[in-house]
Symmetry: C2
Subunit: 348 residues, 2 copies
């Protein structure tokens, strides 16, 4: 039976959304077991007001938590009993399979780095993010691509990028159920020689790899198209790309206005499009899709957005359960194992 | 009197667009003097069929040219008489003030690097690009921001980024006539500590600089807003950002379609918006705005897009003339002079 540990305290909207999300999931058929980690009194009180399956939910007490605006390192040093650390320890101890948190991103990733063990072949972890694309693919006719890193490893080496590609491919295959996800490097041209030295070196290595479907470099315009199922890039670039995408709907309205045609015709057109634009705005809020997977450790963490609603937390829990059931970590290990010769060659 | 040297041969559409663009400009009041560089017979034949001011245009012969698909280094080595090299030499010799080319970007930048002299305080040159924003600013109520580097210096140091900021500020002040352009670093958060080591170090230096209006870091969503008049970033990021923007109109149509509302209402809305979207698509083709300035040398080069029409070449010539008349290089020199103490401190 799969068990998910949920850091219930640190989100912008407080423990309410985590408890409500967990409660709803507990009532679904084949729901995983859930451990809500946080202030026992608070969580118990919240549970009483939300219908749930008592057999599926237990509470693990953590007296304190890391606020969203806290400095991660200092906060974790001062709060050894913080809910995020307790939740990570529960997973590390084998009492749960996957961690879910909507807390302070820096604290969540640091708590995982301090508690979990990095997988062989992984020098630096990656935070993935899914975003909507035109192209649909995979078993579920899924309109999302995965981009990693989303802002954790700002300036990865070629080794790091290769590891990101392998981890992202495994994630897309297991979670989005693409039989063989198309993996690309984000660069400034299709030619293998285009890009930073790290990108050029990673390109050469990825071409040699049998374990993933590497389609080469993609460029900026390919991102929204969904040319690749898995987009591999530095955390600095990935973060900027994702924030540009997040704002794309607003941007368009702005640029549309800039385009200058403020005639009645234009206003009427916008009015007719309003519902689609609203959907678009929702679709481009990438952080609502069940959260961002933290990859590279012997356990997976699904980082839900700080502003997550109870629905978003529910999605994050479902993704976490799928990660556990599909043995995501094992398939990442297997992929990374194929790298090791290359990695060794890369040693000075 | 200002003189512009035009590499007339290397564009995708051939010498016709350069000759036609130059001919049209020559007829405008206060037009600069123009030197068309390329195959004399070809250019003369084209000139005869386009009305122009004979007093304003002369031809400088160059037997050969660098094709768009050529490898820049090899091509320049094999073709010492290439039109781009000849045109750069004419500028270096003082027979013209500014260079304009729609040729092979790598060959144009390399020809400048081989022919011109780097300004003191500039380790690596930058290619700028203007893109449309919501915000309008400056004397001309200009809806464009300048982003640099656009893809020439992929991985700049802190020194390079600081120099880009100074050069971009001078360009925006002289060409777009912003009294005091707002300069920002593109990063992953507003805090001075956010970003790669180079970005963090550049932020600290720029805060100390009196000669430019540094507003700090901006993020991905600020790019289309136009929060900054000058966006400073690595060429790798800048190239990806620009290509994402270039495709934004198509992207929207795609995402709009993805948003799923393919009802009659939606189709009708799109039909009504078609003219605005067409304008938007044009507006987001950043390479049409008179070309990209190559900054960092003792002479300016305006790199027009390879697919430039005769109108785009005309715009590039006008921008080049403005750069000469406003003494852009002198104001860049003055800005860079203020850096030198910092630069020296930066030496190991």
């Amino acid at each position: 039976m799969v068990t998910i540990a949920i850091d219930a305290m640190g989100s912008d909207l407080g423990p309410k959304v985590s408890v409500e999300g967990a409660a709803k999931v507990s009532l679904t058929p084949g729901a995983p077991e859930l451990v809500l980690v946080g202030d026992e009194a608070v969580l118990r009180r919240l549970l009483t007001v939300h219908e749930h399956d008592r057999a599926k939910i237990r509470i693990a007490h953590a007296a304190r938590f890391v606020p969203q605006d806290a400095k991660p390192r200092a906060a974790l040093d001062e709060l050894p009993d913080a809910s995020i650390l307790r939740a990570a320890q529960i997973v590390q101890a084998g009492e749960a399979d996957v961690l879910v948190s909507a807390g302070n991103t820096g604290a969540v990733t640091l708590a995982c780095a301090r508690t979990f063990t990095r997988l062989p072949g992984v020098a630096r972890a990656a935070l993935g993010a899914v975003y909507p694309t035109e192209r649909r693919r995979g078993e579920k006719d899924d309109p999302f691509s995965l981009i990693l890193d989303a802002g954790l490893t700002l300036d990865p080496s070629a080794d790091d990028l290769v590891a990101f590609a392998v981890m992202g491919s495994a994630y897309a295959a297991r979670i989005s159920r693409h039989p063989r996800p198309r993996v690309a490097l984000l660069s400034i041209g299709a030619e293998p020689t285009k890009g930073t030295p790290a990108v050029v070196e990673a390109h050469a290595r990825l071409k040699e790899l049998g374990c993933i479907e590497f389609i080469g470099n993609i460029e900026g315009m390919d991102i929204p198209k969904g040319t690749a199922d898995v987009v591999v890039t530095a955390g600095f670039t990935g973060n900027i790309v994702l924030k540009m995408l997040e704002g794309v709907a607003d941007t368009v309205m702005r640029l549309g206005r800039y385009a200058g045609d403020s005639s009645v015709r234009y206003k009427a057109g916008l009015a007719l499009l309003a519902p689609a634009v609203k959907k678009l705005r929702k679709a481009t809020d990438w952080q609502q899709y069940g959260g961002a997977p933290l990859l590279g450790f012997d356990h997976v963490c699904i980082k839900a957005h700080g502003r997550s609603t109870e629905r978003a937390i529910g999605n994050a829990i479902k993704v976490a359960a799928r990660a556990a059931r599909s043995e995501l970590v094992r398939s990442i290990r297997e992929g990374l194992a194929e790298l090791e010769p290359t990695e060794r060659r890369a040693e000075p």
